[in-house]
């Protein structure tokens, strides 16, 4: 991890009358991070992103981006940020090309034909460059959203639910593009997503917020490592296996059974150990399927927050 802080947020708060949307939030995003920003609906993710992009003014707190206070240096900072905020909306009566040209010009970007076509090619819209955006599907708009976020070659890319509404192929394409931008282009990515698997695959660090406040923050590996994993063991005889489990130290780890599948909640190191134990006792284990993922962790954290 690079120690240069790209986003530094301290005590960020936003109140809409009596409703506290974001409550004393701290954020640390470092150069080169793919930073996952997670939280249930209404957690304050979009409000936070809008404050980072100065679409909304904070009620309290400080935002520093690239080491400089956002409020005083907005114009300079914005030249280095590209973003998609919620669903991608464009000037529907203009072509994809013209939308990019206009937004690029406002950003002070190179808006030569070559550059714009390059951007459209990157997101696979080069053949539709003349088409008005009103004829585009949601997925195409989402891809054009990425192109407008990248047109001025920003250092920090803020993506708010970039794969929402896309088909699996579209989601994979966007994910691959994010990975490419991070690894090949060394961009810092701030990724808000509902799709936890996506964050798990892409992100290096993450934060989970709920009710506007931080629940946990850290590297994805560390956060997942610290908790137990749900694992399904596929066995030849579940009754025999259960008897063996009840006589062992994994008695408390057993969760449920269905047909020949037994679900345990185990620490990561315990999985091969249990597998060996069952094999030694003559149980044929045909598959070990870890079902523990960020989703479980997320639910546990956010439900905990609700309590």
């Amino acid at each position: 991890m690079n120690s240069e802080q790209v986003i530094e947020v301290r005590g960020l708060t936003k109140k809409f009358h009596d409703v506290v949307a974001v409550n004393n939030l701290d954020l640390n995003v470092y150069r080169g991070d793919v930073f996952g920003f997670l939280g249930p609906n209404g957690a304050g993710k979009s409000t936070t992103i809008r404050m980072l992009l100065s679409l909304i003014k904070p009620s309290a707190g400080d935002i520093k981006i690239f080491g400089k206070p956002l409020k005083q240096n907005r114009q300079e900072i914005m030249t280095k940020i590209g973003a998609i905020v919620e669903k991608p909306d464009f000037y529907l009566y203009l072509s994809a090309y013209k939308n990019l040209e206009i937004l690029g010009r406002i950003s002070g970007a190179d808006t030569s034909n070559k550059k714009i076509m390059e951007m459209l090619e990157l997101v696979g819209l080069e053949k539709r460059y003349k088409s008005k955006v009103k004829t585009f599907s949601h997925g195409m708009k989402q891809r054009l959203g990425l192109a407008q976020a990248l047109i001025h070659d920003p250092e920090l890319i803020i993506l708010d639910e970039p794969t929402t509404g896309l088909d699996p192929q579209g989601m994979k394409e966007i994910r691959d593009l994010i990975i490419y931008l991070s690894s090949a282009k060394n961009k810092t990515i701030f990724l808000s997503s509902h799709i936890l698997r996506e964050v798990e695959i892409i992100a290096s660090r993450m934060i989970i917020i709920n009710k506007g406040a931080t629940q946990v923050e850290g590297t994805v590996d560390d956060l997942l490592k610290s908790d137990k994993v749900s694992v399904t063991f596929e066995v030849d005889n579940s009754e025999t296996t259960l008897k063996l489990v009840n006589d062992s130290k994994w008695k408390e780890s057993y969760k449920s059974t269905s047909k020949n599948e037994i679900v345990f909640e185990l620490g990561k190191n315990e999985i091969p150990e249990l597998n060996r134990y069952l094999n030694d006792k003559g149980v044929s284990v045909s598959a070990v399927i870890p079902v523990r993922s960020l989703e479980d962790y997320f639910l546990k954290i956010t439900e905990g927050g609700d309590k």
Partner: protein, 279 residues
């Protein structure tokens, strides 16, 4: 700033609604011109009925200048609606379409963006008035020719010599552009307050209609405060067709309208800069 203004103008002229004003003015003017082409003599006779008994009318009184004056008087009341169609959409339209989110995350400051939009709207207003001038005066002069202009001013009939008219029209159109810019500024202010373009259109027209109604009610109190209504100053273009021209009064009204435009712009910009973008 020039980049932003050119982008805003490009956006304005890429929208269909922008051309409604140009088409409406073009069609209405042509209809008036065609109608007067066929029935103009009768109209002029009825207009000069009292005079023709006492005076001998020579020369071409039924000419392009007269038609342009009639068109300007007739359409002036309706042009505000065509202005607010665009003015009301400039900010609220971005909110409705959700495009604030891609526009306001750019390095340009909100102050520059709102100013560019305001200036682009003023340019649109001026272009609409230029179009009105071209189609009502230019085309009328081509069809009906030049001549003296006969107008009713302050209860009198005034006839201007042919070489004393064009400048009056140029000044009248320029003043009309100022009046319409005030209407635009109202619609721009309302546009900064809401997230739907219909609201500013209705609100601006409501303001104009309310002030016009209040001006027309023959009650002393309302008549006394009438001069403070911006609508009273909007129609001062007519003064350029008076003899002599009351420049002091025109300048006073022009300053009042200009201060309205500046004031409304400052309030709109302040509201826009302070606004949380939630759309």
């Amino acid at each position: 700033m020039i980049t932003l203004i050119s982008i805003e103008l490009y956006k304005i002229f890429k929208k269909w609604r922008t051309y409604i004003g140009f088409i409406a003015i073009g069609l209405l003017t042509i209809i008036v011109q065609v109608a007067l082409y066929f029935t103009g003599d009768a109209y002029l006779k009825s207009m000069t009925h009292g005079l023709s008994n006492s005076f001998v009318m020579v020369g071409n009184l039924f000419n392009g200048y007269l038609i342009a004056n009639l068109v300007l008087m007739g359409l002036f009341v309706h042009i505000p609606f065509l202005i607010v169609l665009v003015g009301g959409d400039l900010l609220a339209g971005e909110a409705t379409a959700g495009t604030y989110r891609i526009l306001l995350i750019r390095p340009a400051s909100r102050n520059k963006i709102v100013s560019a939009k305001f200036i682009a709207g003023i340019i649109y207003t001026f272009l609409l008035l230029v179009w009105l001038a071209v189609i009502s005066l230019g085309v009328s002069l081509i069809i009906f020719g030049s001549g003296e202009l006969l107008v009713f001013s302050g209860g009198k009939i005034v006839i201007f010599a042919a070489n004393d008219i064009l400048w009056r029209f140029i000044c009248a159109y320029a003043y009309a552009a100022l009046s319409m810019s005030t209407v635009f500024a109202f619609s721009f202010l309302f546009s900064s307050l809401v997230e739907n373009a219909i609201g500013p259109i209705v609100a601006t027209m409501a303001v104009i209609i309310i002030f016009l109604i209040l001006s027309a009610i023959p009650v002393d109190f309302l008549q006394n405060i009438r001069e403070y209504f911006f609508t009273s100053h909007m129609i001062q273009w007519n003064e350029f067709f008076a003899d002599p021209v009351n420049y002091k009064e025109i300048l006073n009204s022009a300053l009042i309208l200009a201060s309205h435009i500046i004031g409304l712009y400052i309030i709109s910009a302040y509201l826009f800069i302070k606004k949380d973008i939630l759309s």
